[in-house]
């Protein structure tokens, strides 16, 4: 009891209830902010009062609870107290009883990843709910869970989930060993885990974070590993490749033949969003002979009277577009409609009418920015922004030659990335003809019958 007496000085929400039953003292200890008081009343106080449970053995056998533990050392006592368990102190021994308060939100619609068809539920901040959402989709005994507790002060639970007969054992052991070596005091989100596990950090993400359980269970059945963390919505899927950003889980719920064209459009959007501003600047300022004469005269007429050189225009527009995007993410909904009108007016009409910016530049920058929003993950959008600016700077100083150098740098960067032992550009290099049925084109035969042959040896469904 001296541990508890120490704690009660600084924590006013730690409550102790003394019971005296047949001259035996029973102490009920709990945190009011973490425990559900009505369940304490109903499941602890009421049975103890009514059935006269006053010895240790009686309490353990007769108290109605699904989760009753006997505790011995100080760390376990503290861990259980802080996790929302109620402690019963009797006969100089501690018993813990689960009475958790529901402190997280309900299962709602996914707010960041929208889909057209398919289930719309998403993960919540509760660890057991998330695990339940996965387990109800895969009802097999091959689904294995390895649990760790990380963080000296936060003591968050982490689960590494994989399918036993599909996933590569080497990958699982590798990730497991790395998790065991983590030494940090506070983990707020899954992103921390990623940065602690991997040695190198790239701009383009080599992992996948999602909040949809259907995508998670699909990837589990394909041979990847899942990392679940308490108190976070996003779930980490490892390993992940470049072609995952062109694919979406909605593809598998729609007509197979139309999806190939959708994927080609996504790939084109990626290329357009990186290259368009630099192609425009390189062609109009360094090599005007490439454009046909009528287009050249049109651009020239539009640019008459503009005081800035083209590259400064482009940088001003990119910066203002990024400011608008960031402001849009933070603005409260009450004010958002009028602010969006102001943004559109400022960037669109007023700037052109005042003669500061030519209309063609607005079209180019807007096209490239809108095309980058095709991708779900905000990390991909941000990394496209960095590459766009690098290639734009290079091409504004060295013309078409700079454009080639910039795209070579991007190519070298992609081909030298690796994701947990697998190459990042997986179905293209090392090239495999069978895997191409799920890369940009999707065929019905692949979708129903095969798994990714690089990730698993169990290839047929």
């Amino acid at each position: 009891m001296d541990i508890i007496n120490e704690l009660i000085k600084d924590n006013p929400d730690l409550k102790i209830r003394k019971l005296n039953i047949n001259n035996k003292k029973i102490y009920i200890i709990y945190f009011e902010s973490l425990c559900n008081s009505s369940s304490i009343n109903e499941y602890i106080l009421y049975p103890i009062e009514n059935n006269n449970l006053n010895t240790y053995k009686k309490i353990i056998n007769k108290l109605p609870s699904s989760n009753l533990l006997e505790l011995n050392n100080k760390e376990d006592i503290l861990l259980n107290l802080y996790s929302g368990f109620t402690l019963i102190y009797i006969d100089k021994k501690y018993i813990s009883f689960e009475t958790k308060e529901k402190l997280s939100s309900d299962i709602t619609e996914a707010s960041n990843e929208k889909g057209i068809k398919g289930p719309k539920d998403s993960f919540t901040e509760n660890y057991q709910t998330n695990l339940g959402l996965i387990r109800k989709r895969i009802r097999s005994d091959k689904l294995k869970v390895i649990e760790h507790t990380l963080g000296k002060s936060s003591k968050t639970k982490l689960a590494l989930i994989y399918m036993d007969n599909i996933t590569n054992k080497k990958l699982v052991n590798d990730i497991n060993e790395k998790i065991k070596k983590i030494d940090i005091d506070y983990i707020p989100n899954t992103n921390y885990i990623l940065e602690l596990i991997s040695k190198k950090n790239y701009t383009l993400p080599n992992y996948l974070m999602t909040e949809r359980p259907d995508l998670t269970s699909y990837h589990l059945m394909n041979g990847r590993c899942i990392i679940l963390l308490e108190n976070t919505i996003e779930v980490l899927i490892l390993p992940s490749f470049f072609s995952d950003y062109i694919q979406n889980i909605d593809d598998y719920y729609q007509n197979t033949k139309n999806i190939s064209i959708t994927r080609i459009i996504r790939l084109l959007a990626f290329i357009i969003s990186i290259l368009t501003p630099s192609i425009y600047i390189a062609l109009t300022t360094f090599n005007p002979e490439t454009l046909p004469t009528s287009i050249l005269i049109n651009f020239s007429i539009q640019r008459s009277g503009v005081p800035f050189p083209s590259i400064i225009e482009a940088i001003i527009l990119i910066i203002s577009f990024e400011i608008l995007r960031e402001a849009d993410a933070r603005i409260p909904t009450l004010v958002s409609s009028s602010m969006s009108i102001v943004g559109a007016l400022v960037l669109g009409e007023a700037a052109v009418n005042a003669g500061l910016i030519s209309p063609i530049m607005i079209i180019v920058i807007a096209l490239s920015s809108v095309a980058s929003f095709l991708f779900n993950d905000i990390d991909v959008v941000n990394s496209i922004r960095i590459w766009k600016i690098i290639i734009l700077l290079l091409s504004s100083f060295l013309g078409l030659y700079g454009l080639f150098i910039g795209s070579l740098l991007f190519l070298i960067k992609i081909t030298s990335m690796s994701s947990f032992g697998y190459d990042y550009t997986l179905p293209i290099y090392p090239f495999s003809l069978k895997e191409q049925s799920n890369n940009i084109i999707l065929t019905k035969k692949y979708k129903l019958n095969f798994r990714n042959k690089f990730l698993t040896k169990n290839k047929r469904r």
């Binding site: 109009t284 300022t285 360094f286 005007p288 002979e289 004469t293 009528s294 050249l296 005269i297 651009f299 020239s300 007429i301 640019r303 008459s304 503009v306 050189p309 083209s310 590259i311 700077l393 290079l394 504004s396 100083f397 060295l398 013309g399």
Partner: protein, 340 residues
């Protein structure tokens, strides 16, 4: 490693010298070259890029060589002269006879200039007068002639590449088309043939048609055919010429698909003998054109017969006979079986 890259990007700032803004360019679409005692006098048409519905304007300059004249104009104008969209060259007759390869040399040599530049000769007026009339007239801003005028069967079109290529080859001489002023428009005139770099003769309309037949450049062409003082019009749809060369003779084979578009003769179209008679009449008509132009073969090699013999048999000869073999197929005859 990353610090070195950042230093690189700061170094980028000293690489700006090739940056040309679009508004600072004077885009030239036509150059006209005249003679001024012993020097060149050029006039360049600059496209208008300031506002819509404004006119183009002309820059004049003079110099001992062509590029010196262009350079002098560059110093005087406020925008940098840019030749990447140069489309036409007009050369006046006086200067063409003396210095034709000199003029063309700089346009092939420069990297900036594109390859398909049309070459025109001006017989009577100077090139600058022609440019001034074309600016006043109401045409699309960078084309000198309409496309349909260029590609008709009664004229021919040369560009610089073919001109030089034919000059360097043995046994064929290049031709060049001429233009002239017609009140306020510019129209294409007849072709000039050259030999050893000098202009010899201007072809009339029949000789031009015969030349186009031999070089396989006929399309969309109508011939009137006369029989007993009445006319019918035959339109040639497809015409294919293959020239076969032997050691001492050349045979011109022409294969034509034709339609009847206007019919005023008294013969009945339903009869087999009529069709073959009409075909023979057309063949004779076409043969007249070719015979006219073959007469000029001893003055200049513009028909390329010597080269055909050289290509196949590697002999350089001057005596060969030319014969023709024309076949006309009347494919369609219209809706009616005889004249109204």
């Amino acid at each position: 490693m990353k610090k070195i890259i950042i230093v690189f990007f700061i170094l980028l700032l000293c690489g700006c010298s090739d940056y040309k803004e679009l508004n600072d360019l004077a885009i030239i679409s036509t150059i006209g070259i005249d003679k001024d005692k012993d020097d060149y006098k050029i006039c360049m048409e600059v496209l208008n890029t300031n506002k819509k519905d404004s006119k183009n304007y002309i820059i004049y300059s003079k110099g001992k060589t062509l590029n010196e004249a262009i350079n002098k104009a560059n110093d005087k104008s406020d925008k940098k002269i840019y030749g990447g969209h140069l489309n036409q060259l007009i050369v006046s007759k006086d200067i063409f006879n003396k210095k034709n390869t000199e003029i063309i040399d700089s346009f092939i040599r420069l990297t900036e200039v594109k390859d398909e530049i049309d070459l025109f000769l001006s017989k009577e007026d100077t090139a600058c007068e022609l440019l001034e009339t074309s600016i006043k007239s109401n045409k699309e801003s960078y084309k000198l002639l309409d496309n349909s005028l260029k590609y008709s069967s009664r004229s021919s079109n040369t560009n610089i590449d073919t001109y030089i290529s034919n000059t360097l080859k043995y046994g064929i001489d290049p031709v060049i088309s001429t233009i002239k002023k017609d009140k306020d428009n510019i129209v294409i005139d007849n072709i000039a043939i050259t030999s050893n770099g000098k202009i010899i003769k201007y072809l009339n309309e029949k000789e031009t048609i015969g030349y186009n037949f031999i070089r396989n450049e006929i399309n969309n062409f109508s011939i009137p055919v006369k029989y007993k003082d009445k006319y019918m019009t035959i339109k040639i749809n497809k015409s294919k010429t293959t020239n076969k060369a032997y050691k001492n003779k050349i045979i011109i084979n022409i294969n034509i698909d034709a339609y009847i578009t206007e019919y005023n003769l008294d013969l009945d179209l339903d009869d087999n003998k009529t069709i073959s008679k009409l075909e023979k009449l057309t063949e004779k008509e076409i043969d007249k054109y070719i015979k006219e132009v073959i007469k000029l073969d001893n003055k200049s090699n513009f028909l390329g017969f010597k080269r055909m013999i050289y290509e196949d048999y590697k002999i350089k000869t001057n005596d060969y006979s030319i014969s023709t073999n024309i076949k006309v197929n009347l494919k369609r005859k219209g809706e009616l079986k005889r004249k109204i």
